[in-house]
């Protein structure tokens, strides 16, 4: 997957330690790195957040515009999630069209928000079939040190919770912006938990070198009621059904911990 160079001896060290239940950076197998969440860091965005997950750093900005709804959902606002792997974040990132990884990241984050129906999109319609609010969630990776999915999902949720929606009114069939704002209507808080499979053990929140050693990745997103709303397996390896079920239970607990941090922030 991620193609950073790790020496054989380092690879062996990482996997041997994991076999004995330890990790190179001193964490337990199901511990997250220290997490820091800041919100409202970009004043010009309607919502924003920065998440530090160890050395991984992600900024998410939410912009709101007025646009057309999807033809099959004429009474709902539109959610668009996009991610940019800007070249300053890693020697592996290049400018240009989005990579497979970047598209996958945005789609996994999108799936969590969409499937948990986190945003009350039906409240974001102005003129049915014609004018609705369009919510753009832009994920900006600033430093890649592994587990971009969890950091991005967390930052996206924090930014959405921080979003102030400019209130528009309909006058004579025209949409007009007022000077008023309201919080973005949210009913759910999806949180993603990612595992790496290394030496047939699952570790939570892999950092960059662990991602270089892992053979498979598994992301499970839980909503606030303890239901699964998205899953994504990645990487060239495979998992046993038992490993998957085990991961689901760990993820539910971890998601709860992370959610408390975001809703507080």
């Amino acid at each position: 997957m991620s193609s950073i160079m790790i020496s054989r001896i380092r690879q062996r060290q990482i996997s041997q330690m994991i076999t004995s239940g330890k990790r190179l950076d001193g964490r337990g197998l199901i511990d997250y790195r220290p997490i820091k969440i800041e919100t409202g860091i970009i004043e010009k965005a309607e919502g924003s957040a920065r998440v530090l997950l160890g050395k991984t750093e992600v900024v998410v900005g939410v912009k709101v515009e007025i646009g057309e709804p999807f033809s099959d959902r004429p009474n709902e606002g539109v959610l668009t999630v996009n991610s940019e792997f800007v070249p300053l974040a890693s020697p592996e990132f290049e400018a240009g069209p989005p990579s497979e990884e970047s598209i996958e990241l945005a789609r996994v984050v999108d799936r969590g928000i969409r499937e948990s129906q986190a945003i009350e999109l039906e409240k974001l319609c102005l003129i049915p079939g014609k004018k609705v609010y369009v919510i753009f969630v832009d994920i900006y990776v600033l430093n890649h040190d592994g587990n971009l999915i969890d950091a991005s999902a967390l930052a996206s949720l924090a930014a959405l919770l921080n979003t102030k929606l400019p209130i528009y009114v309909v006058e004579n069939g025209e949409v007009k912006r007022t000077s008023e704002y309201m919080p973005l209507p949210m009913r759910n808080y999806p949180v993603a938990v990612t595992f790496a499979n290394i030496s047939d053990k699952l570790v939570v929140d892999p950092w960059l070198e662990e991602e270089g050693v892992m053979n498979a990745r598994l992301t499970i997103t839980f909503d606030k009621d303890g239901k699964i709303c998205a899953i994504q397996k990645g990487g060239e390896g495979a998992l046993t059904p038992q490993q998957i079920i085990e991961a689901v239970y760990i993820a539910r607990e971890k998601a709860e911990e992370l959610r408390r941090m975001v809703v507080k922030a």
Binding site: R107, R114, I231, K233, G237, T240
Partner: protein, 247 residues
């Protein structure tokens, strides 16, 4: 999400008359394209998909070549006429994501280390889409790989399970996928007992997810039998041809 359309009727049957744990009719054929090193075709319900494999062959562009194994590439693509509303031919973000997850579903089955500095290219063309195309695409691509004579640890077979109108069902069709509550596509290597593709969207409790995962794996095992028959059928046909020539 759901509501308008009833997906399960009073007899517990689905929109196309299937029981919850029933697969759609499946037809597979191996060796359908003469130019490709390996190819296969699948019809699963109304989904119709072709897969072709080229390789191991020289890598283009050359700098992508890997010193210790073959480069596996996969392109999942939908024909513009494969869906109700014409799909622009340029690859969408969905197709790019699916190409990636299908590649990663097949990768663990292939002995890539046997062919350093080469590429193995898989092309999946969806001619008609009626739900479950990533799964059927994976199943048919594995057949095309086998047909190309590429050494594999196992076949890969994929099938989705999901939840519609509160009932867990196997092998969702398009309406069930769009209007249902959840979709769990799974790819499985039956002899190794390993899951190599797993995705989910929708909402499921942990217990429902466990049941859906099991249901999907059972579906995979059923399709696996058909997959093996399809492979054998090609060689039986060749054998018959040779025998008639010799007579």
């Amino acid at each position: 999400m759901s509501g308008k359309i009833r997906l399960i009727d009073e007899n517990g049957l689905r929109v196309d008359g299937r029981r919850p744990d029933e697969l759609r009719p499946i037809k597979m054929e191996v060796g359908v394209l003469s130019n490709a090193d390996g190819s296969a075709y699948i019809e699963q319900g109304k989904s119709k998909i072709l897969a072709a494999v080229y390789g191991p062959r020289e890598v283009h562009p050359r700098h992508l070549a890997l010193p210790d194994r073959a480069l596996l590439r996969c392109r999942y693509h939908m024909a513009p006429f494969s869906v109700e509303e014409r799909k622009p031919p340029a690859p969408s973000r969905r197709e790019i994501e699916l190409s990636k997850v299908i590649k990663e579903a097949l990768e663990p089955a292939i002995f890539l280390e046997k062919f350093p500095r080469t590429s193995i290219d898989i092309f999946i063309e969806v001619l008609q889409a009626d739900g479950g195309t990533r799964c059927a695409g994976t199943t048919v691509a594995a057949l095309a790989l086998a047909d190309a004579g590429i050494p594999m640890r196992d076949l890969v077979v994929a099938c989705a399970a999901g939840k519609v109108d509160g009932v867990l069902v196997l092998d969702l069709n398009d309406i069930e996928d769009k209007e249902g509550e959840a979709d769990v596509p799974v790819a499985y290597m039956p002899n190794l007992g390993l899951v190599s593709l797993l995705q989910m969207d929708g909402l499921l409790t942990i217990n429902e997810f466990k049941q859906a995962l099991n249901l999907a794996i059972e579906g995979c095992k059923q399709i696996y039998r058909l997959q093996k028959e399809a492979l054998k059928a090609k060689y039986l046909a060749i054998k018959e041809e040779v025998e008639t020539c010799l007579q």
